[in-house]
């Protein structure tokens, strides 16, 4: 994007210095996770603390993978976050399309209901969900953490805001005149037009599902954990070796950091677009 004419001035050295300071603060805890994960546990209990990498990274990652169950946790979380992202994108796109471009009764009531539900915290549903899960004998099954997060009110609102502007109503009408069914309109017009927003929503939902904490910690045990549940086990002293704990934290974060390195620009754009419309 070329800088617009008249856009605020070039940043001075002070601006860069402050930005660099905050960037260092943002990245340092992550870098230090890797530093601590590459050391002997005993080294972490000495002053001064290590500031550079040691040579134990491989061993500690291996221990975290097997002893702290991070291997299974990573597999489970990939499955859960992938399913949630797919479901959210699909369901929220069609619902967002209906709210953006179709006419039906109760539309405005339903839309305000959707926006209103964005405020309800997960704490309000854990007790009944837990009772239902216990009744069904679903303890430790992955569907218990997938199903409650498979749709999101934010997603519906996000897709609606995007489609209101990006999807020309004449396009739909033209297809209608030619006798296209609603599903055909969705498949051949809505999905292609919505693709950029769907990609952003998919990435945001994936990150959110990957980091989902409260309900998984209650619903799952260390027998069949997601990454966050396994890390919680580590934090509560499941493994006493702090270097292995850091290796676990690193393993559980690396996939998302990799995604950020690859799609950072798109994710940043998505958050900023969501902000202006929302």
């Amino acid at each position: 994007m070329p800088p617009r004419a008249g856009r605020p001035l070039r940043a001075g050295p002070v601006g860069y210095a402050v930005l660099a300071l905050f960037t260092a603060g943002s990245l340092f805890p992550l870098v230090w996770t890797a530093v601590a994960a590459s050391r002997y546990n005993a080294r972490l209990a000495r002053t001064p603390p290590p500031l550079w990498f040691g040579d134990r990274l491989g061993e500690n990652l291996g221990t975290a993978w097997s002893d702290a169950n991070m291997g299974l946790a990573l597999f489970n979380t990939t499955l859960v976050a992938g399913t949630v992202a797919l479901g959210t994108v699909l369901f929220c796109t069609i619902a967002g399309f209906a709210f953006a471009k179709l006419r039906f009764r109760l539309k405005n009531v339903l839309l305000s209901l959707t926006v209103g539900t964005m405020m309800v915290p997960p704490q309000l549903s854990v007790v009944p969900l837990f009772m239902v899960v216990a009744g069904l004998g679903w303890t430790d099954r992955l569907q218990t953490v997938v199903l409650p997060t498979l749709v999101s009110a934010f997603g519906v609102f996000f897709m609606r805001q995007y489609l209101v502007e990006a999807l020309p109503t004449e396009l739909i009408e033209a297809a209608r005149t030619d006798g296209a069914s609603s599903w055909r309109v969705v498949w051949h017009i809505v999905f292609p037009v919505a693709r950029p927003a769907m990609a952003v929503l998919g990435m945001l939902s994936f990150v959110q599902a990957w980091n989902d904490f409260f309900w998984p910690v209650i619903a799952l045990t260390q027998e069949n954990p997601t990454v966050q549940v396994a890390l919680t086990g580590l934090g509560r002293g499941y493994v006493p070796d702090q270097a292995v704990v850091m290796a676990g934290a690193l393993l559980g974060t690396l996939p998302l950091l990799l995604a950020f390195a690859l799609f950072g620009r798109q994710i940043v754009g998505g958050i900023m677009r969501g902000a202006v419309k929302g």
């Binding site: 617009r4 605020p8 309000l124 007790v127 030619d178 051949h188 017009i189 934290a249 559980g252």
Partner: protein
């Protein structure tokens, strides 16, 4: 726009060809049904899931809060009326958790949003490697609560932590970040601040980019300094966005759970040795899953909900006041 054009052509060629040989009456009836009912089909999956996993649990939590329910036998419910709520009002730990939630909420939200505003201002300058700065500042957002807290626990270690070592070289400390009353609250807040400042900065940046450049140009012509431009043009233009982030951050603060849980180590649900950073979320978890009182946990959940409604009402009032001022 190219994707759009090809899509229309595909849609025009497809259905017209294949459906032509069907009986016309049947087709037009189908077409009318489709037109009338497909909107409902499109929103149905969302509302089905919302009803099952949002609305039903919300109401059922309210119902359960009026009963005695034990975790060990969740299907046996004994009606106790308002008993659970009365016990909460009478319980020091509940009030403690409520106070801590508000305190840590303020400690984490206010500096976070102020720093985010400043950062957004810097990001709005013409920068080299603009994308790099934005992505780098957003990386904490990619880090989960659990991973972040585990690292901060080590960094804040009393004896061997990096923070105390750094403070020591300046001649300060050592600070007991885990057991101190205010130090532990600050430490927990700092984790929240670390994770969310960059995210909020991007939201402010998006809003700043929507402010018309002419406003700045004419202010610059009038001789207003950068600082004055920020205070008198940027901040007023950002009011709705600031209100939005305040609401979202407040909702997040009310639910604060993972950070204090893991910061507390093995007995994390207590929120520290003297419950000094036990939030309402932790108190709910402790009541339900450590003392097995699901009914009381439900009452805590509904208290949180009422608190949120109160916060929302205050925000609406403030928003209205702001609009009147203009």
């Amino acid at each position: 726009m190219t994707a759009t054009t090809t899509a229309v052509e595909g849609a025009e060629a497809g259905p017209a060809g294949r459906d032509r040989d069907r009986p016309a009456a049947w087709r037009s009836r189908l077409y009318r049904w489709d037109l009338r009912y497909s909107p409902y089909a499109f929103v149905a999956p969302f509302f089905a899931f919302f009803a099952a996993f949002g609305l039903f649990p919300l109401l059922y939590t309210g119902w359960a809060s009026l009963h005695r329910v034990e975790l060990t036998a969740p299907d046996r419910m004994v009606w106790v009326g308002a008993h659970n709520y009365l016990r909460l009002l009478d319980n020091d730990f509940f009030w403690n958790a409520l106070r801590n939630t508000v305190t840590i909420g303020v400690l984490s939200t206010v500096p976070q949003l102020l720093m985010a505003l400043g950062l957004a201002h810097l990001l709005h300058y013409r920068l080299r490697a603009a994308t790099f700065w934005r992505v780098a500042l957003l990386t904490p957002y990619a880090t989960s609560v659990a991973a972040a807290t585990l690292v901060f626990v080590l960094l804040y270690g009393r004896d061997y932590g990096l923070v105390n070592w750094a403070l020591g070289t300046l001649g300060v400390g050592p600070v007991d970040w885990q057991n101190g009353t205010w130090s532990s609250r600050c430490a927990v807040s700092s984790i929240v601040i670390w994770r969310w400042t960059g995210y909020n900065a991007l939201i402010y940046l998006a809003a700043m980019q929507a402010v018309p450049d002419e406003l700045y140009e004419s202010a610059a012509l009038d001789g207003a300094s950068r600082g004055r431009q920020f205070l008198h043009i940027t901040v007023p233009a950002l009011r709705p966005t600031i209100l939005f982030t305040v609401v979202v951050s407040t909702i997040g603060a009310t639910q604060l759970f993972g950070e204090p849980l893991l910061f507390g180590g093995a007995g994390g649900q207590k929120g520290g040795a003297s419950h000094q950073f036990q939030t309402l979320g932790l108190y709910l978890y402790e009541q339900g899953w450590f003392y097995y009182h699901l009914g009381r946990a439900s009452a805590v959940a509904w208290s949180m909900f009422l608190l949120l409604l109160l916060v929302a009402a205050v925000n609406v009032l403030i928003a209205r006041r702001l609009r009147k001022d203009r």
